[in-house]
């Protein structure tokens, strides 16, 4: 592990510590006088209607898969960017071919109308 990760560890400890302390202090010190309105999910908002566990539109799944696929594309460009200068023109061309396939995916998805929200 490199020394550069120490700030990350510090942030992690601070974040977890703040969360634990805040929840612990409010459970220990806070007054507890519950009533039905206080315990509702949105005390000052609209009353919840129905059940949250209803089947969602299949569109969400397509969007999630689209996100995942372009996520993988981005991940592949990381080692390429690190090694880019040594690869030269050849490296540029192979990445152009790689991204061209993703462009084809994008055009296909767009053409099939999966990006339109009805």
């Amino acid at each position: 592990m490199k020394d550069a990760y120490w700030p990350l560890i510090l942030v992690l400890l601070l974040a977890v510590g703040f969360g634990v302390v805040a929840v612990l202090m409010s459970t220990l010190l806070g007054p507890k006088k519950p009533d039905p309105i206080k315990l509702s999910p949105y005390e000052c908002g609209v009353d919840p209607v129905g059940d949250a566990r209803m089947p969602f539109f299949v569109h969400y799944y397509v969007v999630a898969l689209l996100f995942l696929i372009f996520d993988i594309e981005v991940v592949f460009t990381y080692p390429w960017a690190v090694y880019f200068k040594k690869l030269g023109l050849f490296g540029l061309l192979e990445m152009v071919v790689f991204i061209a396939v993703f462009l084809a995916i994008f055009i296909y998805v767009w053409g099939r109308g999966a990006l339109e929200w009805e």
Partner: protein, 170 residues
């Protein structure tokens, strides 16, 4: 014990705890959230082992993308009951397969395999992380599999669109 070792054991133990939570929770959505935490703990152990690229992939693709997909699948499937309890005897087969996997991993660790491949990874880690090392082989030696990976993802997307039957009814 050095700091690296300490952090490795802390995150490894956390990863095991989170993984156990994933398989023991009754609600699927709780399992998915513990899966995110497990993936982040895996990423932390990868960073301790100087495998930054793997850690980035673990967080971006697995914790971000794959679990997102899993959560959408959970939302798509109508749960008849909130808490799904397993009643059939599939766990016997699952336990048998898990046992085979444990034996396999033990074989890899106790045999010569780790020493042979582990040396290369260790050298790369000492030379400044494995991101450049992956780039070195991925874009030269394994160029064809790299390009084929994009075609595989194209197939996955076409499959998803066809399954979702987008505009097919029109």
């Amino acid at each position: 014990m050095s700091w690296s070792q300490l952090f490795f054991y802390v995150f490894a133990v956390l990863a095991v705890i989170m993984s156990l939570m994933v398989v023991t929770r009754r609600k699927a959505i709780h399992s998915a959230i513990f899966l995110i935490l497990a993936f982040i703990c895996f990423a932390a152990t990868y960073i301790v082992m100087n495998a930054e690229l793997l850690a980035a992939i673990q967080v971006l693709v697995y914790a971000g993308g794959v679990v997102g997909l899993i959560i959408f699948v959970i939302m798509l499937v109508k749960a008849e009951e909130d808490e799904v309890r397993q009643t059939h005897g599939q766990w016997i087969i699952a336990a048998f397969i898990a046992l085979i996997l444990v034996v396999e991993v033990a074989f890899v660790f106790l045999g010569n395999l780790v020493q042979r491949t582990g040396n290369l990874a260790g050298k790369m880690a000492q030379a400044g992380g494995n991101t450049e090392a992956v780039g070195l082989v991925l874009y030269t030696k394994y160029l064809f599999p790299f390009e084929v990976a994009s075609v595989l993802l194209l197939a996955a997307m076409i499959g998803a669109i066809v399954l979702a039957k987008y505009k097919l009814e029109r």
